[in-house]
C-alpha cells in the first residue's frame, strides 16, 4: 500500500474578511476608529451609533473610549438613520455606522427624508464599499455612490487609504451638514503617504503629473 498522502493544493480566494491589504503591503490599523476617538476627545458633541456593526466598522474603539456617548441601535438600519437624525436635532453630531449595502439600500428613504432633507448634521460612515468584501453579492455595495450622490445636500466622501480616512474624519465632523463616507476597516493599506498629499473636503488633488493620460480615480 502506498502510505503517501497526496497534499491538496490550497485554493485561492479573493475574499476579504478583515482587511483588503495585500501581503506585504504597508497598513494602518483602524484609522477611522482611532481618528474619531482623537477628534471626540475635544468635541463632546460627537456621539457614535451603530446597527450591530461596531466591531466591524472600527466604531468599537469609540465605544470603549466613550461608553456614555456610544449608542447601540441593534440590527435596524431604518431606526439607525432615523434616530441619528433625531439625535442631530438635539445638537449632537452622530457618527452612524453599518455596512454600505445595508445603510444605503435598506435605509435610503430615511437618509433622504429624515437626514438630508433637513440638512441634519449626521455623519454616515459605511464599511465594505464596492467589491471589498468576502461575502459575495449580498455585501457588495456597487451602487452606494450613485444612490448617495443623487441625494441633494449630501456630501459624499470616498477615501482611498488609511491616510485619507484619518484626515477626512475631523473634516467631515467639522463640516456642518450631512455626510456619507465610505469606510475601510481593520488593517487598511497606506498609499498616499508616498505623495505630497493632504485630504481637503471637496477638493481634488494632483497625485502625479504627466502629459499623456489624465485619470480621475475614485478611491479603491
Amino acid at each position: 500500500m502506498n502510505a503517501t498522502v497526496e497534499k491538496k493544493p490550497r485554493l485561492t480566494t479573493s475574499a476579504m474578511i478583515a482587511s483588503i491589504a495585500s501581503e506585504g503591503q504597508r497598513v494602518k490599523a483602524a484609522p477611522f476608529g482611532k481618528a474619531l476617538v482623537e477628534y471626540a476627545a475635544s468635541h463632546p458633541e460627537v456621539v457614535g451609533m451603530t446597527a450591530d456593526l461596531a466591531k466591524y466598522t472600527d466604531l468599537h474603539l469609540f465605544g470603549q473610549a466613550y461608553p456614555d456617548r456610544f449608542f447601540q441601535m441593534g440590527m435596524a438600519e431604518q431606526l439607525l438613520m432615523g434616530a441619528a437624525g433625531g439625535m442631530a436635532k438635539t445638537g449632537l453630531v452622530p457618527f452612524a455606522t453599518t455596512y454600505a449595502v445595508f445603510g444605503t439600500r435598506r435605509a435610503y428613504d430615511f437618509i433622504h427624508q429624515v437626514i438630508a432633507e433637513e440638512n441634519l448634521n449626521v455623519k454616515i460612515c459605511c464599511a465594505l464599499p464596492g467589491l471589498t468584501t468576502g461575502y459575495g453579492p449580498s455585501h457588495q455595495a456597487t451602487e452606494d455612490l450613485a444612490m448617495m450622490r443623487a441625494i441633494p445636500g449630501l456630501t459624499v466622501v470616498d477615501p482611498c487609504d488609511a491616510l485619507d480616512i484619518e484626515q477626512a474624519v475631523p473634516q467631515i465632523a467639522a463640516h456642518n451638514g450631512p455626510v456619507y463616507m465610505r469606510l475601510l476597516r481593520g488593517n487598511v493599506p497606506l498609499v498616499l503617504d508616498e505623495y505630497n498629499y493632504t485630504f481637503e473636503l471637496g477638493k481634488a488633488k494632483l497625485l502625479r503629473d504627466g502629459a499623456d493620460v489624465l485619470g480621475f480615480p475614485v478611491a479603491s
Partner: protein, 276 residues
C-alpha cells in the same frame, strides 16, 4: 371655567381652524383633524411645555407629527397655541405658504420633523429622546402617529429600541380611526390586539376613547407622571369627522369628501354645539 372646559373649548377652536383651512383649498384631511382635535387640544393646552414665541427653545417638549398629512390638524393646534398666527390660515396649501399640505420642518415654526413618508416619526423620536437624556434635558418627546403607520416595520424597530434604552421621556400617541388609503385598517393589515403588542414590546400602555376628554387628559397625566424608565404609548380610538354629524356619518375612507357649501355648514354645526 375648569381645566376640562378650557380644553374642550380649545378643541372646538382647533376644529374650526381646520375646517376653515380645508375651505381654503376645497379639500384636506379635515376628517382626521376633527377626529384628533381632542388629543391635540390636550397635548397643547394641558400637557406640553413650550414657549409660543420661541419655538426653538431648548427646554421645549418636542411634538413630532409623524403622519405628515395631519398637518392641517397640527397647524390648527399650533394656531390655537399661539405658535402660528391665525391670519396665516388663509394661506394653507398655497404656493410660498409656510403651511404646506404635508408637514415640513423646514417650512413651519413648531414643526419638528418633515413627515409624509410614514413610519419615520418614532425612529426620530428615539434619537431625540436619547439625545435629550444624554444632555440632561428633562423635556419630553411626543411622537404622534396614525394607525396606518403600525404597518411600517420601522415603527416596531423603534418600539423595541425605545424599551431597550428605557426611554421614560418618550410618549407616543396613536390615532386609531381605522381608516387607511385602501380601506379600514383592520382589513388592510390587522394590528389587534394592539395594547398587547405594545405591552409585549416593553411599553407602558393606555388605550382610551380619544374623543372623551376626561380619559384623554388622565392618560396624558399618567404618561407624564409615571416613574418607570419605560416608554409610554397612548392608543386613542377616535371618530373621523367628530363634531360634525354629517361628516361622522359619511362613507368613511382615508379622505372624506366635502362639497363646497358644506364647509360653512360644518362651521355652523360646530358653533351651534360649542362647549360651554
Amino acid at each position: 371655567m375648569n381645566k376640562l372646559q378650557e380644553i374642550a373649548q380649545s378643541a372646538h377652536r382647533i376644529r374650526r381652524y381646520a375646517v376653515r383651512m380645508g375651505e381654503v383649498q376645497g379639500q384636506g384631511y379635515v376628517g382626521q383633524a376633527l377626529g384628533y382635535a381632542d388629543v391635540l387640544a390636550t397635548a397643547y393646552t394641558h400637557a406640553m411645555t413650550f414657549r409660543p414665541n420661541e419655538p426653538e427653545w431648548a427646554g421645549r417638549d418636542r411634538f413630532l407629527l409623524s403622519h405628515g398629512h395631519y398637518a392641517i390638524a397640527h397647524y390648527a393646534a399650533m394656531i390655537e397655541a399661539g405658535i402660528i398666527p391665525e391670519s396665516e390660515l388663509e394661506t394653507y396649501g398655497s404656493d410660498d405658504s409656510r403651511l404646506p399640505m404635508s408637514g415640513m420642518a423646514t417650512y413651519t415654526p413648531g414643526m419638528e420633523m418633515s413627515g409624509g413618508s410614514l413610519g419615520q416619526g418614532l425612529p426620530i423620536a428615539v434619537g431625540m429622546a436619547l439625545g435629550l437624556r444624554h444632555q440632561g434635558n428633562p423635556a419630553f418627546v411626543y411622537n404622534s402617529m396614525s394607525d396606518g403607520e403600525l404597518d411600517e416595520g420601522s415603527t416596531w424597530e423603534a418600539a423595541m429600541s425605545a424599551a431597550h434604552h428605557g426611554l421614560g421621556n418618550l410618549i407616543c400617541m396613536v390615532d386609531i380611526n381605522n381608516q387607511q388609503a385602501d380601506g379600514p385598517s383592520t382589513k388592510v393589515l390587522g394590528f389587534e390586539p394592539l395594547a398587547d403588542k405594545w405591552a409585549s414590546f416593553g411599553w407602558h400602555v393606555q388605550r382610551v376613547d380619544g374623543n372623551y376628554l376626561p380619559a384623554v387628559v388622565r392618560a396624558f397625566d399618567t404618561a407624564r407622571q409615571l416613574p418607570d424608565a419605560k416608554p409610554r404609548v397612548i392608543l386613542c380610538d377616535t371618530l373621523m369627522g367628530k363634531g360634525v354629524p354629517f361628516l361622522e356619518a359619511r362613507e368613511k375612507n382615508h379622505f372624506i369628501r366635502v362639497d363646497p357649501p358644506e364647509w360653512q355648514q360644518a362651521l355652523d354645526i360646530l358653533d351651534a354645539t360649542r362647549p360651554e
